[in-house]
Symmetry: C2
Subunit: 519 residues, 2 copies
């Protein structure tokens, strides 16, 4: 296979000369895409390893290795032969849906990559490989200034790259948004976040002023790490994560990644509050179950992964909130929890536990946010990203603006950047345009729930411990398609309706209106 790549190129060119170009262009692409995917998979493994295990001082040396692999990836994807073969494939008849989708993704990737000069791409990759470490140090030291110069560099690259990629006067932030969620430009998101702001900010105020007070002191206490780990493994498996095709490790910030759909990896962290890791695990398991559910036909292809960031988040939030924070979910499971932590939970009734894990408490940390306030954390980030990219907001002003917005929407103000602007790793990884997908995901999930409830007794299934039935519905409509279809299409095919954020607002207002006895 190795040297045959060169032979493939030669054959490809001969084919063109002899006028046989339509014949098997897709097959000729195979070895190139296979190698590109292998390089991508290696890069994913390095990232995983950096986050979970690699020694402290390895970073700057390993970053060079990652840079060289990125370079090799870019080179193969922008190879002249790949370009020619893709051109032929785009006109080719008789490709399957998966093949067409692979050609589409490869063409998009090619056009993204060939617009970025390789030296810049490589320098950027090295910057990003190193910046997570700088960010992490700055966060530890609560020192935004230590991260600001790196963040500026990242933003400057991001803008430059977006400029290269913009089509017909497309705005830079729209280019970035497009990388995570096709079909959701600023225009659409302004509308979405506008609705959330208009509906949820005043609703939250009514909730926090409600006479209903919820106890949750018992969630903090003597919850030994080892027992939490046992619970984490139990819950991940209970909701459907397959440990024969997946692993779980620890990292500073929980995440999910996958080498392919037979090797899916979750991380978590263990804190004093038991619900923190508990729901984080169900959340990551949701991401993981999505990847495990991708059809084997798509394994190690450009469409062998989730459709989009938003669709991914819809699955993780579906598991975390719609399944995991549902009272019915705990009917068969709460006993296990009491068994693991008898001291702490002996006197706590299931109803009180479920109320506690649904307690609304506007806070500073996105990843610890409750279901209701969560999208307001995202709103802050959306507005700031827009300003950074579209209005050249100075990086130095971020901490203050961040604090102001938190005060306005959530009624809380960070006292230092570690609990403010430095809390998330995303910008350190160059992920601008990513945050909105978190809120979109919750909204997708609410729309899916509304659809599922039409045809089955959702709570009844949870009470009987039959999460598997729900997983199968999601797999049938969403997971198995991988990235063949985009999120709007999947959502429409499943629910019969285009994206409609009203379901999300209604879901939240109904659930929390009832809990807090407000309108």
């Amino acid at each position: 296979m190795a040297l045959s790549l060169n032979k493939e190129i030669q054959r490809g060119e001969e084919g063109i000369k002899e006028g046989k170009q339509e014949e098997g262009a897709y097959e000729k692409l195979g070895p190139y895409l296979e190698r590109a995917m292998a390089l991508q998979t290696a890069l994913i493994l390095f990232e995983w390893d950096n986050e979970t295990l690699a020694p402290e001082k390895a970073g700057k040396y390993t970053a060079r290795v990652q840079g060289a692999l990125s370079g090799a990836y870019q080179e193969i994807m922008t190879d002249k032969a790949v370009r020619e073969l893709l051109n032929i494939c785009q006109k080719e008849q008789g490709l399957t849906e998966a093949e067409q989708a692979i050609v589409r993704e490869a063409s998009e990737e090619l056009s993204r990559l060939e617009k970025i000069p390789p030296e810049e791409y490589r320098a950027y990759q090295e910057l990003v490989a190193e910046s997570a470490r700088i960010w992490s140090g700055a966060k530890k030291a609560k020192d935004f200034d230590a991260f600001a110069p790196t963040l500026k560099k990242i933003i400057s690259y991001q803008k430059k790259f977006a400029g290269y990629q913009a089509k017909d006067g497309q705005r830079m932030y729209d280019v970035m948004l497009d990388n995570y969620e096709k079909g959701f430009s600023m225009e659409k998101l302004d509308e979405f976040f506008g609705l959330l702001k208009k509906e949820l900010v005043p609703f939250l105020k009514r909730v926090t002023e409600s006479h209903v007070k919820i106890r949750d002191d018992f969630l903090t206490g003597n919850y030994p790490r080892e027992k939490q780990r046992e619970l984490a493994e139990f819950l991940a498996e209970y909701v459907g994560f397959d440990f024969e095709r997946g692993v779980m490790a620890e990292s500073a910030h929980p995440f999910t990644t996958n080498l392919h759909n037979h090797d899916v990896r979750l991380t978590t962290h263990y804190k004093d509050r038991v619900d923190s890791s508990l729901f984080s695990v169900i959340h990551e398991a949701g991401h993981g179950i999505y990847e495990l559910g991708v059809d084997d036909e798509l394994t190690q292809t450009l469409v062998g992964q989730g459709a989009s960031m938003g669709m991914h988040e819809s699955q993780s939030r579906f598991f975390e909130n719609i399944i995991g924070r549902n009272e019915a979910f705990w009917v068969p499971v709460y006993g296990k929890l009491k068994e693991l932590f008898p001291e702490e939970l002996e006197a706590v009734r299931r109803e009180d536990f479920v109320r506690a894990v649904n307690k609304v408490q506007p806070g500073l940390i996105r990843t610890e946010a409750d279901e209701l306030t969560y999208s307001l954390h995202v709103l802050v980030r959306y507005e700031l990203e827009k300003m950074l990219i579209e209005e050249d907001l100075e990086v130095e002003r971020l901490p203050e603006l961040w604090a102001d917005k938190y005060e306005e929407y959530l009624g809380v103000r960070p006292q230092n950047p570690a609990e403010g602007v430095l809390q998330d790793i995303h910008w350190a990884q160059g992920s601008f345009g990513y945050f909105p997908s978190y809120a979109l995901g919750s909204a997708f999930a609410a729309q899916m729930l509304q659809f599922i409830k039409k045809s089955m007794d959702f709570e009844g299934l949870l009470e009987k411990g039959e999460v598997e039935v729900i997983v199968q519905v999601l797999k049938r409509h969403i997971h198995r398609f991988g990235k063949m279809r985009d999120s709007r299409r999947l959502l429409k095919d499943m629910t019969g309706e285009d994206f409609n954020p009203r379901y999300y607002v209604e879901y939240l207002k109904e659930k929390y209106g009832k809990l807090y006895e407000v309108e």
Copy 2:
């Protein structure tokens, strides 16, 4: 850097046309070798991950990824431009020793690789990526037949590859030996192993028949895993392993690997016998310290790693046996051990502990062997490898011959293949010619000890806890040179004498003669 690789090729060719070929050929090689090293590093990470973490069912999919990366590596190393540049470099004046060594290694790798047809190389890589799993299943089931077909395939590839590589009538097993230890062909090894067989087999008989009986029952007992892990970390650090540039994990079979000299990785396993993991950790730390000691100038180059398998093993065995099993070593350390395991070791005097960990007990498992019998385990493997490769020994006959030889040299006979021929992973990884380096390493180490003792009070340093002084000597003479110089050269430069196996035999006979009161 990425696309510039193509530019480099073009420039390289223009250079040749314009007759400027001497100018900077070495610099032009840089980007090729950098990418090749990056691919190698990725392959090492995949291997590490497979052994320590990857989920069970990922293997066959990940094997394809590994195959594709190996193919890319082979392609770049055999690139026409690389060949031309290496030809120029070989004649180039003014290269540093490191640069010359890199050119030498690259040329050897190129000639090794270009002789193997790429499809075969790739198929072989995939076979080997999968075979560890098959071996592990067969070992678990104590079923040699489950592994035999895979082993046959591996041997057949190995022979084929050796045939491609053989120079002027070189014998196949000599080609394989050369991959691990230059300068040690069958002729030299027959002499070495002949000496061991002649001297140590009868000596061992006298030891086992000695009236001296050593108690070691207290080494097995209530040694909790967590405490053993704490001890492992303490000891690795105590002998000089740097956890800022290294990590430790668990795997079925302990090993050491490294991404580069700032990311060195040990594994261990924890058993009921405390000395099993204890000395395994010191052993692997020895390998690790070697890699950490390689000069930074050589990082991520073809010579940025240990000189050879035998030299590597000399360091691990120096740490494990010559340092770790020395009574003086335990003077400052035994207290820590008693503190960790008060119940088990309270009544055990240091002298008795040290006698126990030096107890000679001919057994079936190489990795659990004592210092005296160890090389006899290797002798068995050397003789069988020779027969497999040079005499076409049928794979089916291995279990029986294995058992016969163990009975003859060690006086014990395996009752099933898990404690016999299936115990080691090496053949499953295609590592034929590797085993002899284990015994050579011990012999190198004994020769080094003899040299070191001439100029310093070896035991005195250990008693004062100054292992660091000894590490520095090894670093100065051996570690820092990486793979620039071969093992015979390093040994000669250090000790002033060519390899002399007599030191090893004398060391063993003196130490164990004294312990067991025999001649």
